[in-house]
Symmetry: C2
Subunit: 260 residues, 2 copies
DNA sequence: GCCAATATTTAGTCTCGCCTAAAGATTGAG
DNA sequence: CTCAATCTTTAGGCGAGACTAAATATTGGC
């Protein structure tokens, strides 16, 4: 039995907790600019000391850089791994809602477990079956297989001026109760929203959504991301809802670098 | 914060290794009548000592009974858990082939990972989307959600008499190479098989399958399970392929206990 | 610029599954 | 019936990933 030369020594696949850490750190990093130990601990519902230990391990594996008492930063390797997991999660969420009839407040937990078990092949088949969607049911952009994603930041309903009309873009997938509430007032990605009035001192806002006029608190308002309406006489031929959340790479290579 | 009375103290969900052990033990038990430590070790590619340790843990959890140096036997609880995992596995395999276009030699590994992550809800949605199939792509019967399954044993091609015509029922899902080979000679569940001739001393068999006449070795022949052709003028109204592998419980409750 | 509050890390354990090596039980050949 | 070959179990460890308690670093208020 001749010992095979062990060609490039395949890197062992990441464990489930490792994927969760990378995903959480990625999200903290892009959202708040930095990822503190305690933030990661809170996101993963784990003791801070556990985070310190895991961070040391991830650093030795070249997935992130760690300056003690300062914080962590994903390396390219770590970021790619995080985006791979996020892609899986969002394609799974989309598939579960579009094909299997899940309500949008029920897909998060399911996707959270499946994202660690599904093969790349399965994810790509699901993506193809969906026509390669660029956004999940909550409006979050789906990273491409080669790890690119639209990371632009957006305004929220809380930032609206009275009388302004915009389109709902996105909301977090993590709070089922919020999602059910939003569905109840017809607030879902793609719908048009007009701010009719706002009470002073961070008070409730009155919106026009579809044919309703829901009144929402400022906390909720700050969680709903929006985008401008498309130009009135669309010069770029796009479908009304198909264009939101287009990742930079979903467009042909020739068209890149122009946006952002 | 009043300490909630902790109602019935929900049993913690089984871990992935535990599900794998129960599944392997179930299969050894129903196939060979008993499950020896070393058989389990071989099935799970784990050291025998590890099996002893795990078995002790499973016994304390009431999932199986263990007589040292003798063997193990699943309790009702353990059998139910095993069948739940097997149901998941087989529905997943069916879904992957029928809906997502997987080849039948590629579904085993994928299902093996997903079966631990999918919720009951997901599995039932997939089952419904498939019209509640009773057999997986390899012909294995799918246990019902309440844990019943057709456990009848069957003859194999190796048992055929020359000139006999039967229907292929089932083959193991675990050997991709075998599955590809079978697909190449049109051997798949549901097809009719006639034994044209057999060489003496356990020699190769010549079959008629579809419009081919493949010659197969006795090892392969012993792995392909068969069933009798349905009665010529079917008195029970059944679809030709729909009746194979019907679990005892797929029929209305009123019809149970009659078969077997 | 000091000190207290807060954040982070270290130190020491724990459980789960796995391993190897060695000891003990069973079985079958003669 | 006995002994060697073959299980099976015990003993002792290891790595991942979590925890608590205690030590240490940073920061913000004054």
């Amino acid at each position: 039995m001749p010992a095979r030369p062990t060609p490039p020594a395949a890197p062992p696949p990441l464990t489930e907790p490792v994927e969760d850490y990378l995903k959480a750190i990625y999200e903290l990093e892009t959202r708040s600019g930095a990822a503190a130990t305690s933030d990661v601990a809170q996101a993963l519902r784990v003791a801070p000391a556990s985070v310190t230990g895991m961070i040391r391990r991830l650093a030795t594996q070249g997935l992130l850089d760690h300056v003690p008492y300062r914080g962590v930063q994903l390396t390219d390797l770590g970021r790619r791994a995080a985006l791979r997991t996020i892609r899986r999660h969002r394609i799974l969420e989309t598939y579960l809602t579009q094909v299997l009839g899940y309500a949008w407040d029920r897909v998060h937990d399911e996707a959270e477990r499946l994202e660690h078990a599904a093969s790349d092949d399965l994810i790509e088949r699901m993506s193809a079956a969906l026509g390669h969607p660029t956004a999940d049911p909550h409006g979050a952009p789906i990273p491409t297989a080669d790890g690119r994603v639209d990371e632009r930041t957006h305004r929220t309903i809380a930032d609206l001026a009275v009388g302004e009309t915009v389109r709902m873009l996105r909301v977090s997938d993590k709070d089922p109760e919020l999602l059910r509430y939003l569905a109840g007032i017809a607030l879902q990605p793609g719908v048009e929203i007009t701010l009719l009035s706002r009470a002073p001192f961070d008070g409730p806002l009155t919106l026009r959504v579809a044919d309703g006029e829901p009144v929402v608190g400022s906390t909720l308002a700050a969680q709903v991301l929006i985008e401008p309406l498309p130009a009135r006489n669309a010069q770029r031929a796009v479908t009304p809802t198909g264009d939101r959340n287009t990742t930079t790479d979903a467009r042909p290579r020739s068209a890149r670098k122009s946006a952002r």
